[in-house]
């Protein structure tokens, strides 16, 4: 590691690892743009018969941003669990992105509050009469009801917030004290947390997205959402690091080796997403049972059929071959292209999951999709930037940092 004496703020680290003025600037920018877009979306959404469009657009954007946050939380937990060394230098950025969990909990309110008030725009089960009047649904009413929904959400967001903030705080504490036992403590916590994370993520995906069609079910649905979350988070992480480097942060610490590994994760989970997506499809297609097939039937005909076909290409075939090469993963511009590509097509994936519930015959794309996405992304970035104000962008006293800085791929 070459020491750069000309950097005034290197604290002996040899690289600029503080956000400084960048943090409040980004917090303000993200916060203002996000808040304005959110207010505009809410205003348009709850006036003039746009409610259904708003609710579905909001859920699409929410599922997308939530998946990035959950991907971050999973990734940080994983690094501790397996005692990863390559990633130590970029782990703090992951921790910051995961620390947005309390905000993501708040952002679920525009979905949760109308549902609690019995609004069935999104979820039929919000109306208990409709559930009890249906032969198939009344058996699901014990799970699909507004009361239990709130209980579950409190558990999900309570656990996610606690875990992400605990890992963030402990890691920052190590920056100051340098206590090596924090590493083993976090590793011990990450093992049970990983199990709980798997369960909560699965049920959250079921609650928010799958129960749009309360009669439909797929036991692999949580894994499907998880696959998209991991691939999106890694893309978002790559872009975040590139942006930080462009602004003079982490320019020396994070090398092509780290981007190469992030690229591997993007490549692997692109394939994993396709594996899971196809596994879900093939079993339902083969069994051909009406109550299961209905969901795919809607997505196999008309304009949604075209979207499904396009999804196979843009979510799997094209990025799979695009990310295959070692050179691509080590080239920042090429990797940035694929990271943006993946984030866009993963948004399309959420659109494909949510929107057929609104219109089965057409693609209900509207300006609300854009404003909701901008709102969510702006606030998400603002929250991460807000938490980054006083901390290093690198866990400077993590015992594995040397190995991470010297990391090389063979």
């Amino acid at each position: 590691m070459a020491k750069a004496k000309e950097h005034a703020k290197d604290d002996g680290f040899g690289d600029n690892i503080k956000m400084d003025a960048l943090a409040p600037k980004l917090t303000q920018l993200g916060g203002i743009v996000g808040a304005l877009a959110l207010v505009a979306s809410l205003a348009v959404g709850f006036t003039g018969g746009n409610k259904s469009q708003f609710m579905h657009s909001y859920l699409t954007a929410y599922a997308w941003v939530l998946s990035i946050g959950l991907g971050a939380l999973w990734w940080v937990t994983l690094q501790h669990l397996v005692n990863a060394k390559w990633s130590t230098v970029i782990r703090r950025v992951g921790e910051l992105l995961a620390s947005t969990m309390p905000l993501l909990g708040l952002l679920s309110l525009p979905i949760v509050i109308p549902t609690l008030m019995g609004d069935t725009t999104l979820y039929l089960w919000a109306d208990s009469h409709k559930m009890h009047g249906d032969h198939l649904l009344h058996k699901k009413a014990a799970y699909l009801n507004t009361g239990f929904f709130v209980v579950r959400l409190v558990i999900y967001f309570g656990f996610w917030s606690a875990l992400s903030l605990f890992m963030f705080k402990k890691s920052v504490e190590q920056d100051k004290t340098g206590a090596p036992e924090i590493r083993s403590k976090l590793q011990a916590v990450s093992a049970p947390s990983m199990l709980l994370l798997a369960l909560t993520l699965t049920f959250a995906a079921i609650d928010f997205v799958m129960t749009l069609e309360p009669k439909w079910y797929s036991t692999i649905f949580g894994v499907y959402y998880f696959a998209g979350a991991v691939v999106s988070f890694n893309s978002f992480l790559a872009l975040t690091l590139m942006w930080l480097q462009k602004n003079g942060r982490l320019a020396r610490s994070v090398t092509a080796e780290h981007f190469h590994d992030i690229g591997k994760m993007m490549f692997a989970f692109t394939a994993f997403w396709a594996y899971i997506a196809f596994s879900q499809f093939m079993l339902i297609w083969y069994a051909n049972i009406p109550e299961e097939t209905e969901w795919y039937h809607i997505r196999a005909h008309g304009p949604w059929g075209t979207v499904s076909f396009v999804m196979v290409a843009v979510n799997f075939v094209i990025p799979f071959f695009g990310l295959m090469s070692r050179q691509v993963k080590r080239n920042k511009k090429a990797l940035a292209f694929w990271a943006i590509w993946i984030l866009v097509v993963h948004w399309l994936d959420m659109f494909w999951l949510v929107k057929p519930h609104m219109h089965t015959e057409s693609l209900p794309f509207s300006i609300l999709d854009v404003t909701c996405t901008v709102a969510m992304l702006g606030l998400f970035i603002a929250a991460a930037a807000f938490n980054s104000q006083k901390v290093n962008l690198v866990p400077v006293k993590d015992p594995r940092l040397d190995k991470s800085l010297a990391f090389e791929n063979f």
Partner: protein, 414 residues
Amino acid sequence: MSDEHKEERRSDAPVSAGGLHGILAEYETPSALVAACKKVRDAGYQKWDTYTPFPIHGIERAMGIRMTSLPWIVLVAALTGLATAIALQWWTNALDYKFISSGKPMWSIPANVPVYFELTVLFSAFAALGGMLLLNNLPHPSHPLDHKQQFAKVTDDRFFLYIERADERWDAAETHEMLAATHPVTLEDVYEDESTPAQVPGKIVLTLAVVAVVALVPFGVFAKMRTSRNTEPRIHAMGDMDWQNKFQAQQPNKLFPDNMAMRAPEPGTVAADEHVDDDHLTTGKVDGQFVRTFPSSFKIDEAAMARGKQRFEVFCAPCHGMSGNGDGMVAQRASALAEGTWVPPTNLGLEYLGKMPVGQLYDAIANGVRNMPPYASQMSVEDRWAVVLYLRALQKSKAAPASELTDAERAALK
């Protein structure tokens, strides 16, 4: 190392007995080795290598090793595997042995994707392993360095650099001088391995030959079977299954006094589906005449009506329709196909059916009538009567006068 190579090298530069194979430099630290590598690389040597107890970052650059072509080999193998799988599935399913499975098309992509996936991965894995061995020139059973005493430290704490005499740039004095300038701990000539036999040992050759011959046996058996005209089962792989220890009907069995394998029920035993001595209930007839009343043991209530409706919708509605008009889904489909052999199901609301004795309706359900199959095997006695009860209600609803309806029902109809 083959004999040709030895001869060739001996002929181009004859040296001392045993033949010089190369020169080995020993270093104490990885950095010294890496520095030496850069020198050898820049001097333009090709046939040389380094040996270390653990992987050293950056040594591939110091040695000037180009990126391996293995990924391309794997990619080609993967695409070959994919193409093979597609061809295999298409040929077997859609061409050579057409067989409809689960109502899917003969040539259906989704059902075959797992095979595409597996063969792609299988070919890739084999190509990766085989290509790695090939590119690394492995297996390499013997090397002159194997007999060098100090080279054993390579698994412990020493780092070695070895240049072969076969290298085009080799010059005994110059090469030695260049390596000496890198300050190795030791610098030694390595001679050809004379102790290891040049030929593969006879025992190994023999073993491989035997294995190869044995491996051909199954193919020989397949070839014989394919041309055999014998009608006997080919191989009794499981004798227990082909010759079972059991008695079959009409066979003798000396265990019993009557020497018969088939046994009659013991006197006084009662079968699980015991016969009920009530013709009215079980046949719908009394003294050969269809009954006009429900059997006394059949309780007519809301539960029986609900059960009758449920059973009707399962067994009768597919043909007769949900309201019994003879327009069920099966009937509609059959009419649409216009096959000519289809006898349309009866409209159950017809007047003569309303006057038909309940016993006759029961009999039709139990034993079938005209084209309608019997349902005795699928519906219990009570269920058949329940369906008759529901049918009566259906028939009544068809001809119900407005005066019999409640005000609410009349309002709903308007």
